[in-house]
């Protein structure tokens, strides 16, 4: 039988309404909605600050690596490569935070060919993104949601297009 979508559900008497635990903060007062917005902005700023701190520390460590830093002739990492990594992460997190999706900060690891790995290893998923030293080379990534082989991703595309792919995948598996 076709469901009548316009049919009203019977009302629950107000005395039987239940408080939902996650909405305990909201008592019908609009001021609380403003507080929530302020809280959201505050959290975003805090996270941006944390991200900047992590970038600063990583930059210091990685820029200190001199030529042959792996003992097999690895070139130094270019600052520009690192900046592209940070920019990519900022793009990803700004969208995820806006959508209230919390994902830990990944490891940022120098690779002996002058590229940089962005590496997430969490209980839920693993994602490895390799940002090449040359802007013209393609970004290569591989990810899997643990226990869900159908959600595996292997992708290669230009730097300017990659954030969309990553954000889409992270949202999908979240």
């Amino acid at each position: 039988m076709k469901k009548d979508v316009f049919k009203k559900e019977p009302r629950i008497p107000i005395e039987n309404w239940q408080k939902l635990p996650s909405y305990d903060w909201f008592d019908g007062n609009l001021e609380n909605l403003e507080s929530l917005k302020v809280l959201q902005i505050h959290m975003k700023l805090t996270r941006e600050y944390e991200l900047e701190n992590i970038f600063t520390q990583n930059k210091k460590d990685i820029m200190e690596l001199s030529k042959n830093w792996d003992g097999y002739g690895a070139p130094s990492i270019k600052e520009n490569t690192l900046e592209r990594v940070f920019e990519l992460l900022k793009q990803i997190y700004s969208v995820l935070w806006e959508d209230m999706i919390k994902i830990p900060i990944p490891l940022i690891q120098p690779v002996p060919d002058g590229s940089i790995d962005i590496n997430w290893e969490t209980d839920q998923f693993e994602l490895l993104i390799n940002v090449p030293k040359d802007q013209n080379l393609l970004v290569n990534l591989y990810g899997e949601k643990l226990g869900h082989p159908q959600d595996e991703i292997e992708h290669r595309s230009h730097y300017d297009l990659i954030s969309k792919v990553i954000i889409g995948w992270l949202k999908k598996i979240h």
Partner: protein, 158 residues
């Protein structure tokens, strides 16, 4: 016993790499020093600037992990640890994922400025910019530190 002449060393076929054998590679402190857990081998160990021409490893038929360490410029565990890739696990990993990896015996018969003579020297071919994320992620999962060759982290007083 007369010493063998390296010029007589022959390249051996892949069939000679037995399941119980290992491939060793020295990993510099700059790679592992920031790892959150030292036992959790990270994917960036499995690459080099010239990896597309072949990634150098040492075959356990002709090398111990100690030999591999000794061949490095800084042969101490504070600077280098030795990774062990078991041949059976690597072979399975290649087959299961259809990785285009080829293991080639490449003995170094004459020392160069960089490399000493080395009968164990082996190259892994087939890793490139297009596949390196997946290959490195999966190979890092079968890699472990060779026995007694886990690096030593000295606590800095700074």
């Amino acid at each position: 016993m007369a010493q063998e002449n390296p010029l007589n060393w022959e390249k051996e076929p892949f069939e000679n790499y037995l399941d119980e054998h290992s491939l060793y590679r020295g990993i510099h402190r700059n790679i592992w020093i920031k790892w959150p857990i030292l036992e959790n081998i990270q994917p960036h160990f499995f690459y080099s600037d010239n990896a597309e021409e072949g990634l150098s490893m040492d075959w356990s038929k002709y090398s111990t992990p100690e030999d591999t360490l000794k061949r490095l410029r800084e042969p101490n565990l504070e600077t280098n640890g030795i990774i062990d890739l078991n041949v059976e696990k690597l072979r399975n990993c290649i087959e299961e994922n259809s990785f285009p990896l080829i293991i080639v015996h490449d003995p170094i018969k004459k020392a160069t400025k960089i490399l000493p003579i080395n009968r164990a020297h082996t190259l892994i071919h087939g890793i490139n910019g297009a596949n390196k994320a997946k290959i490195r992620r999966i190979v890092s999962k079968i890699a472990e530190w060779a026995p007694e060759m886990k690096p030593i982290i000295r606590q800095s007083n700074d």
